[in-house]
Every structure is written in structure tokens, then in C-alpha cells.
Symmetry: C3
Subunit: 431 residues, 3 copies
């Protein structure tokens, strides 16, 4: 086993984020479509459209929302906020409006962050129709009494919800699911870093011989995973490992949130990898809040899906604000995140479960050239020991990852030992 080599994708990933940053994404509409089409330039993503009104599990596909402009004019006709400068200024999924309002009425429709008075919040109103704006508390405080022209050129209409899916076939029909949300407008870390890393991760896998098959989902949060789950229940039994990914460009150390099962193989792998490589990482137990792992880990599905991020969902000042911009993320951290995910999947690719075909007593390793010929030297002791661990624990109840954890021997050495043993016919894979 060779851990994934460093690739020079950092600049490409950052450029993709930059290209996607201005699009006004939402749970439906042209911003999402435009995003998916941009991704298609890098990977052969399939675009799926589900019509408004379609029942998906307990939910219904909402109307499609599109927006072309939005601003507030003061009584001197100055644009005090402008959607075209920053799409966060308009309440996401806002109804259209075009009228003169008092300062008070404007305030009733404006969202701010009093605790961070210089940041503009990102707000949505998907399931209650209303119009609204977002601005900084400082700006709101500076407005004087008078009349304001509020203008939002948006529409809700029967249309469809769009998402992207890429299936990469490997040797096995068992699947790894990688899911990232695509419903946030101009927010760089949440969600563009996830979109970009997922794109380059898919690109990386497309060029390789794979054990697992891989399924990438680029979906609007909640309604997107609900829609996908609703239409793909027959595929769920193939999912062996899964990760929701986002928040991958900031300066924080890595965070892994366990699947609902708590000790899935992907949980063990992610924890093992971070422990070995990033001593300052954070491991969180599953909670039914966060990203789409909420849906994958609902009790009726209970899939082995964890969540891999740098910063923690909702726990940083810039979260869902204008502070989550292109300066908040870096090429270097995007690259580090991609590398970590490549490495974790590389471990998953190799962490099989074997049966020792010669379980009674130790097999004679020497005869097979597997064992030091001269007893008592120290050379190759570690590989010998790894072979003994693999043989001893390969009773069908342990994966190679379990054996690495139990023995304290590096996973790569365990894999090397298992490959040598397999070549001698001493291991056969558990199906």
C-alpha cells in the first residue's frame, strides 16, 4: 500500500472556489445549475432535475427560486445595499418586492448580527414566504429616518430541484458515499471548499484502479439528501462507508464527527488516520444536527456516514456570515484537506477482512519464505510480528484496521503483511 501522493491541485481548487463564489445558490434554481455545470468542466457529473411538487420521503420538492437583482435605495437614491455586489444581502429564497417603506418597516425585514456588528449574516426563508434583506448591524444603525425603496427581482415558480451525481465504478459493488452540499451562495468555506475538494477528490479517483465504487453527491442541504435517499433506497445496502464533507479551507485543525453507529469502520479509519497524522484533531460523537449526515444517519437508514471538516459546524465567528469569504480559506489548507481525504480513502481501500486459511497453530512461515531464516536476529521483526497479528486475528471478526489498532503496528505494515500472506494462500477475503 502506498499512501496517496501529493498532487498539485491546490491552485486549481482555490480557482474553482473563486469561480463559483459569485453565483447565487439556493436550494433550487439557476445558481445551483450554474454551479453544477461549472463542476462538469472537471468531472463527468450527471445532472438530475426533480420537478417541483414531487414527494420525497416526508417532504415535497419546493418551487424553484431565481433572482436577478435586489437593492435598497435611500431617499437620495443611493444604493445602500446591492445584491450584485454581495448576494448575501438578499434573504435567500425571498419573495419579490418593489415599494417604498419606512425605516421601521425596513428594519422589520432586515437581519443583522448584533454580536458581530461588522458582519453581514446569511439568512434563508425556505418554508415561509417573505421578503427580506441582510446587512451589518453597523450599517443598519447608521440609517436615518426616512423612506427607502426596497427592490427584489426574484420569482418562485414550478420548476425543479437540481443536483449532481457521479458514480465511479470500482472492482466491487460496495460503495463509498461522498456528499457535499451546494445550496449556500457566496460563502467560501461553507460550502465552496467542500464542493471544490469533492471535485478534485473525484478527479483523483477517476484515474485509479479502485476496490470500492464511489458515489459523489453534490446536493442542496437537507432537501437534496432527502430527495436522493428517497429515489435510491435500493442502493443503500451497498454503502460501506460514507462522509459528508465541507469546511475544508479554513485554518482550523481537522474535526471528525462519528456516524450514528459510533464505531463504523469509517469512524475507526478516520480516527486512526487523524491520530497518527494530526495530533491536534477533534473527534465528536454523533449528534443529529449538522450537515446531511443527519439524513443518512436517521434511524430508518442508519448508514455508516461520518462528517469530515476542519472547523466545526456553527462554532466559528465567520459561520454563515460575510466573514466566510475568499480570504477565510487558503490554497494550502484546501490541499491538506484533499490529501487527508485521499489518505483516508486509501486506508478504506485496503482495510479488508480476512480469514486465516490455516487457523490451527501458526502456519510455517519460513517454508514459504515469509519468515526470517535465522532465528534470533532483529531484522524484519516488525513484519514478522505484523504477519503473526494478521494470522491470529483474521477470524472474520476483524478488519485490517482493527488489527492495526489492536496491535499498535502501523496500518501500512499490517497491509504489507496481509498481502504477503494472501499471496501464499494463507488468507482469503471475507465476502
Amino acid at each position: 500500500m502506498h499512501m496517496a501522493k501529493k498532487t498539485q491541485s491546490a491552485n486549481g481548487m482555490y480557482q474553482l472556489v473563486k469561480e463559483l463564489f459569485p453565483y447565487c445558490r439556493s436550494i433550487t434554481g439557476n445558481g445551483v445549475r450554474q454551479t453544477l455545470k461549472t463542476i462538469q468542466k472537471s468531472i463527468p457529473l450527471e445532472l438530475i432535475e426533480i420537478p417541483t411538487g414531487t414527494k420525497v420521503l416526508d417532504w415535497e420538492i419546493p418551487e424553484e427560486w431565481n433572482i436577478s437583482d435586489g437593492y435598497i435605495l435611500d431617499d437620495k437614491a443611493n444604493k445602500i445595499v446591492d445584491f450584485k455586489e454581495l448576494n448575501l444581502h438578499v434573504l435567500n429564497y425571498s419573495t419579490p418586492v418593489n415599494k417604498k417603506v419606512s425605516l421601521q418597516e425596513l428594519k422589520d425585514h432586515t437581519f443583522t448580527l448584533p454580536a458581530h456588528p461588522d458582519l453581514i449574516p446569511y439568512r434563508t426563508s425556505y418554508y415561509q414566504k417573505k421578503w427580506g434583506f441582510c446587512m451589518s448591524q453597523n450599517q443598519l444603525d447608521s440609517l436615518s429616518e426616512g423612506e427607502y425603496q426596497v427592490y427584489i427581482d426574484s420569482e418562485h415558480k414550478k420548476g425543479s430541484l437540481s443536483y449532481g451525481e457521479l458514480y465511479i465504478k470500482g472492482n466491487s459493488s460496495k460503495e463509498v458515499l461522498i456528499s457535499t452540499h451546494i445550496c449556500h451562495p457566496s460563502l467560501a468555506n461553507d460550502n465552496l471548499s467542500g464542493i471544490s475538494v469533492a471535485t478534485f477528490l473525484a478527479q483523483y479517483l477517476l484515474g485509479r484502479t479502485l476496490n470500492y465504487s464511489y458515489r459523489f453527491l453534490f446536493i442542496p442541504g437537507t432537501i437534496g439528501s432527502i430527495a436522493w435517499l428517497s429515489r435510491n433506497e435500493d442502493k443503500l445496502e451497498h454503502i460501506e462507508h460514507g462522509l459528508t464533507i465541507t469546511l475544508l479551507g479554513d485554518q482550523s485543525n481537522f474535526t471528525y464527527k462519528r456516524s450514528r453507529r459510533g464505531n463504523s469502520e469509517i469512524d475507526k479509519i478516520a480516527e486512526y488516520y487523524l491520530e497518527q497524522n494530526y495530533p491536534k484533531h477533534t473527534i465528536l460523537d454523533f449528534i443529529p444536527y449538522g450537515y446531511d449526515e443527519r439524513q443518512y444517519c436517521s434511524p430508518g437508514f442508519n448508514l455508516p456516514v461520518g462528517c469530515f471538516t476542519r472547523n466545526t459546524f456553527g462554532e466559528f465567528k465567520e459561520y454563515h456570515t460575510s466573514g466566510d469569504n475568499l480570504e477565510f480559506i487558503s490554497e494550502e489548507k484546501l490541499q491538506e484537506s484533499l490529501q487527508a481525504l485521499q489518505d483516508i480513502l486509501e486506508i478504506a481501500e485496503h482495510s479488508r477482512s480476512y480469514i486465516n486459511t490455516n487457523p490451527k497453530g501458526e502456519p510455517q512461515l519460513g517454508r514459504r519464505g515469509l519468515y526470517e531464516k535465522i532465528g534470533g536476529t532483529n531484522d524484519s521483526k516488525l513484519t514478522q510480528l505484523a504477519s503473526l497479528w494478521v494470522l491470529n486475528l483474521s477470524d472474520g471478526s476483524n478488519t485490517l484496521m482493527d488489527i492495526a489498532i489492536r496491535s499498535g503496528i502501523e496500518f501500512e505494515v499490517i497491509v504489507e503483511a496481509s498481502e504477503a500472506l494472501k499471496q501464499c494462500g494463507l488468507l482469503k477475503e471475507v465476502q
Copy 2:
């Protein structure tokens, strides 16, 4: 859910202890009957009499013991100890005696506590017939050589063992068992505090709509619970939770001793409640020694019965001595104990196990008015989160108490969330 409101029972509880204090209780006899009849003035207790000689499990109901007087006269006819002043002075269940004895013979029949020379011990001799007295070591040391008149006017006869039972019917046939022993004579904390708190707890429950049915037992220790178990094996399957209670008036912090199972729902509830409310409490693992939980938790029954006390069985200086008197307990602590038990039962009343009726993906809470309409605000976050936890863990294997413990969210909030979800049809109760 509303936690039990404070009631002004403190004075009443202390008065009941005071009224019962002088009666000479034993495992059988008029002292017990008089005690039960006094309790009947507060709650509709049923009195049960089981004839001497009746086989109960491995035991047999002993003879009834009654006593009217007892004293020791010195050679100047001074009463040096007098049963009528303090009934602890006569060995409980003592045979009658009326004779002159030497100081040596008196000493052979007298129990003292050399380690606490000013305290008079409480001693019994139920299963070996003998006469005896109890006094302080100091008093015994002060006696001079000479003749003493020993007089005990007691009798053993075929009669019956008496105990009291109160069944309070709730909506469910599932039961909570509350058991307190009534066989100790003038000891305030052990057992009168338990008798009094149990009486007022029953009174409190009698006025309420209840989920569980409740069964209160006022029984002589060991032989009483053995007798009840022997006659009621058919009822045991209904017992969902149980507590033996006593030692509830002293100044100590609360102690909870786990049931033999160690992780019964009542164990979780009592531990959770004490952790939340009384940081200095003590949790003890089950040991097969103590009060009647020994019988309820014998391996052939293994009922989910813990033991709730303030001080710990046998671990305080005043235990089974004249120091366990009316000054050793207080109105305030009796009240606090009653409150704690009311609260614990209130939790038990609400800690159901539900099934999420929409287990695939999250149900759309917003559509049902259960979810914040505007995404991204902080209001009601806790209730939303509680709803998500209840939905996620309600797969039939968790009670609401389990969910409170796992989520770290206050039990009351979990209950409120579950009630809202139930009203929307998103939860159904596990039967």
C-alpha cells in the same frame, strides 16, 4: 412535564414520626399493628395478617411477640433501666423473665456499645429465644456488685405477622413498588423517617392522574418482604421500577444504591436526578446486604429495585442506637427527601420509550409548525435540537431518560419535545 411542586408536608411528616416514636415495634405484634393503624389515618392502607407458622418461601411466619413492661431493679429497688421510658432497653423479641440475678448474670444478658459508651444499642433476637437488656456502657460500668431484679413482661404466642399495603391504580398496569420497613422500635431515622415519607408520598400520589400504578408496602424487614413476595409472585412481572426507602430525615447528602441489574431505568433516573440536583450525592453498586432490596433483588426475582436513603446503611454512629432519636432528624430534611422522591417518580412517569413513525430522513418539522420558520436564528434552538435527538434515538431501544443522558439536554426539554412530536403523530409509544 412539570416537576413536582413543593408541598407543605414537612411539619406533618415530623409529627407522624413523633406520634409513632414510642410504639414498641418488632417483626410481629401490637406495636406494628398500632403503627399501621396510625398510618391508616392518612392513607387507605390495607392491613394484612399472616398466621404464625405459615410457610413463606424458605421461611415460616414466627410467633407474635407482645410486651407490656420491663425493667431492672437494683438492691435498693431503684429502676435502673425502664422499658416504659425507652423501649430499646429490652432486647427486642425477648422472652419474659422475673428473677433475681447477680451482677455477672445480668452482664451476660446485657448488650452495650463499648466504642460509644454513652449510647444504648438496639438489639434483637428473633430466631434464638433468650431474655436480655440493652444499656449504655457507662451505665453498666457504674453498677456495683449485688443482686438485681430483672423483669420483662412479654409473651410469644401463635398469632400473626402484620403488614400494610396500598395499591394506587394508574393508567397502566405497570407498577412502581415503594417499600419501607416498620419493624424497628424507637428509632427515628431508621425506620420512622421512611414510614413517614412513604405515607406522605402515597398521599401525594393519591390526588393525581398517574401513568404507572403504585404499590406501597409497609412491612417488617426481611420476613415481611419474604412474606409479600411469597404471596404475590403473579404481580412481580408488572414491576417496572422499585425503591426501598428509609433513613430520610438525617443531615447527610442523598445516597442511591443501585439495583442488582445495575442499569435499570430506575437506576438511571435516580442517578440522573441526583447528579442534576445534588452534586454531593453518593451512588453505590448493589451489594446483597442492607434493607429489603436484598429480597427483591435475590437472583430468582432480580427486580429493578434500588434503595434511596440519605445516610448509608450501617455507616453512621447513631445507627441502631439511642442516638437515632427525634433530634437526629429534621422537618427540613424529611421535606427535601419527599421532594426528591416526588421528582424521581415524576421523571419515571414521563420516561417512555417511543418509536419514530417517520424514521427515514428527518420529518419536515417546519410544515408541522415544530421548527423555526426562519433558518439561522438562535431562538428555540434547544427545543429543535431536543426534537432531533428524540426522533433520531426513538428506535425502540431508548427511553426518554436514555435520550436525556446521551444528548446532555435536560430531561424536561426532552419530554416537552417528545410531547410535541407525539401530538403530530411523529412518535408512537412502545408497548
Copy 3:
């Protein structure tokens, strides 16, 4: 239960080691046979011979190796190393040789320990045929250029592998397996201390009434246990406890290495015993490396066999060197090791699993004379409490050792209580 009394075997054990020290043992050959015959003078050991070429599990019995002499002469005909002085000087299982070689060729066939330049290593070449010598690094460094006469008078031939077995019949067909390896030449701690302690342990058991049957194996390492397992698969189901023993004469504290199961009864017993008696002991989790427990604990057998030693396998400077000599071990430590093993087996003999025949409520101990007649005194409290623990936990799922661990009451007291209860018919043994 009476713990094993001290016996005066110390001198005898040391003398046996001394007698066996010079023999040149290997995995086969006359050194092994001579060793087994010497042991037969103390215990009625059965000698088994398995012919060369016999298939045993994945292995094959190798040729028999015998050696009568070996030395190196320098160009002045000085014997610079001499097999007859110390048999470690010849590579164990070496092919014969008789020729003149250059210093360089000699070096190519000589093993040293550069890190411990004054020690001569013990080396083997069982499965690759070659000739060789072992000497100290200091000696090798002192050799000058020139010609050397190398002479080894050994032969490999079709013959047999020899091992010793002693079965001591007890009341039950359930067995305790004690296994020690006998394939190391002049090494006192590893393996002669194990051979000697095993011999005296067998002698000790031969004179006693036993619950278990005992099987002692004196076998060459690896191939010996493989051979025995191969021929005795039908006996394995009887093995309730097992220990491999060696390294029992050095100054270290005791070490116990758990069986692969990790919580076998023998694991609990050994750990309990060491905790009670030797606070400075070491407990190791199973690893598939070490002595013959590797074979007994291979996944296809998974027998409850731990490993009991003083020092730890491979972890001391003298391990597999000329430093493991008669001075490295002491009479006193051999005696202490024997005593510990006797005590551990004594615990195993008594740690039965019982069923409480009166599981509903407590049985009336007083009626059976088992309980204090006067309630409230402190005498015999511990025995009473032990009786209550035994009754409460004897539901078939706990051994007496489990009960000792759970209750915190000394094992001997638990055994005494169980014996009294058994006499009253309150316990019956689980078969």
C-alpha cells in the same frame, strides 16, 4: 480451602537445573531425550517420539540433530571456542564442517552481540541448513588475520522428535494444561527454570486429591506444541485452564500474559492472585508472539492458555545469551515461582460455578446455623456477607472467582462460605 503450604523444593529445583544445564538440547535429538530421562527420575513422564517427516498441522517433523563436538582452532592450534565448554558456541542445528577458513569466512559464519560485546549469543538455524559459531564481540574483535580450523561434528538424520507428557487424573475430566519448552541448550532461566518448576509442580500435584485433571507437556518450542496439538485435537475440549511457564528463576517480579480470549477464568485467577500478593507484578495483553501460547491461542484453537513468567519474553539483556547462566537464577526465586503456581492452581481447583437452589428471597441462614443468632453484633459479619454474595450471584453465570472480584471479599472467605452453603444444600454445582 487452604492455600498451598510452603514445600522445601528450592534446593531440589536448583539442583535439577544444574544437572540439566550442560546438555545440548535442540528441537530434536539426544539432548532432549537425555533431559526427559532425567526428569523421569522425579515424575512418571511418558516419552513420545514422532518420526521425522510426519506431517503435523502445517508443519513436518524435521530431521533429528545430534552433535558430539565443535571448536575453532587458530593457526597455533589453540581452541579459541569449544562446544564442550559451552554448547552455545555452536549454532544450534548447525551442519557439520571441518575445514580451514580465512578470518573473513569465519566472520561470515559467526554470530555476536555488538550491543553486549562480552556476551555470547544463542542462535539457531532450524529451517535453513548452514554451519556457524557464536562468540562474544570482544573475542571476535581480538582475532587476527590468518587461517582457522573450523570443526563441528554434528549430523542430521531421519530420526524423531521427542517430548514428554504426564497426565495426572483428578475427579473431573476437565483439564489444566501446563506447558514448558525444552529446546534451549545451556540457558538457565529460559528454559531450565520452567522445566524444573514444572517437574516439581507435577510432583506436588501427584500427591494430592484433585478436582481437575492435569496435563504437563515438556516440549520443544513451536514444533513441539504443533505436534502435540495435531495429535490431540480430541482432548482440547477438556482444557479449562492452561499456562505456558518459563523464566521462573530470575530476580524480576512476576509477569502474566493473558490468553487470547483476554478474560478467561485463568486470566482472572492469575491477575487476582498477583494483585493480592505481588503488587509489583505486570499484566500483559495477549500478543501472538512469545512461547507456545502462540500455538494454543491460534484462532482455530483459541484455548484459555496464558503465560506465567518472572521476566518478560525477550525484554532482558541476558535473554538468549551466555548471561542466562546458573548465576542468573536463584533457589529462592524458583521456590517463590513454584509457590505462586501452586497457589494459582489451588484457586482454580476451588473456583467453581454454583446455582443457588433457593433463589427466591434469601434462604433462612439462621435456621441452618449459618447466620449469627443475635442480630446486630459484628462477629462473623464477613462470612455472613460472603454467604449473601455467593447466594446472590450464584445464578450460573459467575464463578467463585467472579464473586470474589465483584464483592471485594477475599477468595478464601468466598470459598469457605460456599462450602458451608453447599453442605446445607443451598448450592449445587453447575456441570
